[in-house]
Symmetry: C2
Subunit: 199 residues, 2 copies
DNA sequence: GTCGGTTTTGACCTGTTGGTCAAAACAGGA
DNA sequence: TCCTGTTTTGACCAACAGGTCAAAACCGAC
């Protein structure tokens, strides 16, 4: 249905918008900014998306879907500790490979989640509830040390997303733009959760 | 020097601005919004602060000072594990008692720290470098388990600030606006760092 | 090449925003 | 009470932002 030009331009717009929205927030971004970054004129951009809001929504919709995948992959049948550490690793990889998406999400939540509150208390909560039961079962079976499953998940999110959302601070404190904090971060997080959960 | 009226109004403005900036970011906030929240007219507000930028700067300056205090209190002469757990506890209390300040800071960092980059690689880095040496000494003396000091601090910041910055998500996932997540959070974090650092 | 649909653009409109200014209202001490 | 400095305000401005529109440019099938 969509022509080649349409595909190319909508992709360019979403790419540019991700850049702009993730560093300036929704209200802090302008349509002109996005248009320039996408190499289009403002009216031309508005030919592809009816409004600034629509671009933002399109980005969020795409993001929220992908956001849950790593947690979905947490397998009750697997070896508990390595399942959880694997989840941590996947989340950290997402932080490294998609930092703009992480910041887009963070911006949204910090500002009170005006547009994604239903998602949080809907899909997200449902999935977390479900996986929390898995964690509890593992604890009950003595396969991992006792832990509050909800705060376990909060910890994982906080720790992994920190490296994307606060990367400016991480680099400033480490003292060099050039070193890659992720290898050390991965080792550190693996250590943390292993020590926490080892029965 | 300042009259009673001046004191009252500048205080009201800063209080209102903290509310507005922390939930909307700098560009997302308007002077009118702040003025209304402070119970003043816009020109009246601009009689006390020369510009929107000036209000924001005043807030950040006040914040950055207080931000370092809990870390400064980390005492090399104390008992290592309880010093670190104490630091975690202080940071978590700040998250609970000053969530708007935390979000103001988070907004700033996420958006690339345009106005506080010097602080990050200056005062903050200096202090972290210093305290990292303390951590390393504790590790070398076998008083705590081996750990990367920088990533230890990142972990503490990420975990504690998460409860302020992402509190909407925390409450959505926990399922009720009314329960206070902090008691459980504190227990969880104490457990985490104890298990991580116990020699 | 021509023709229909697609894509692009310049000009424009409306509401908002940060900020100014001169004048009015309001202290409160002499 | 009056007088001087402080505080407050309504009216205003220029820049900017989101969005519209009609016309122009462009494309690919015939």
């Amino acid at each position: 249905m969509a022509t080649r030009i349409q595909q190319k331009n909508t992709a360019a717009i979403l790419e540019a918008a991700l850049d702009v929205f993730s560093t300036n927030g929704f209200r802090g971004s302008t349509v002109d900014q996005i248009a320039r970054a996408a190499g289009l004129s403002k009216p031309n951009l508005l030919y592809y998306f009816p409004s600034k809001e629509a671009i933002h929504t399109a980005l969020l919709d795409g993001l929220l879907e992908a956001w849950l995948d790593p947690l979905r992959a947490l397998d009750e049948a697997g070896e508990p500790l390595s399942e959880i550490v694997g989840y941590v690793r996947r989340k950290l990889e997402m932080s490294r490979d998609f930092p703009r998406e992480s910041r887009l999400f963070a911006n949204e939540i910090i500002q009170g989640a005006p547009r994604i509150a239903p998602y949080l208390s809907g899909e997200l909560k449902t999935l977390v509830d479900e996986k929390s039961r898995v964690i509890r079962r593992w604890v009950a079976d003595g396969k991992i040390a006792p832990v509050d499953p909800y705060h376990l998940f909060f910890s994982i999110w906080a720790l992994t997303q920190h490296y994307a959302d606060f990367n400016v601070q991480v680099h400033a404190v480490l003292g060099s733009e050039d070193i890659d904090p992720y290898p050390d971060a991965e080792a550190h997080l693996e250590l943390m959760f292993t020590r926490l959960l080892r029965p």
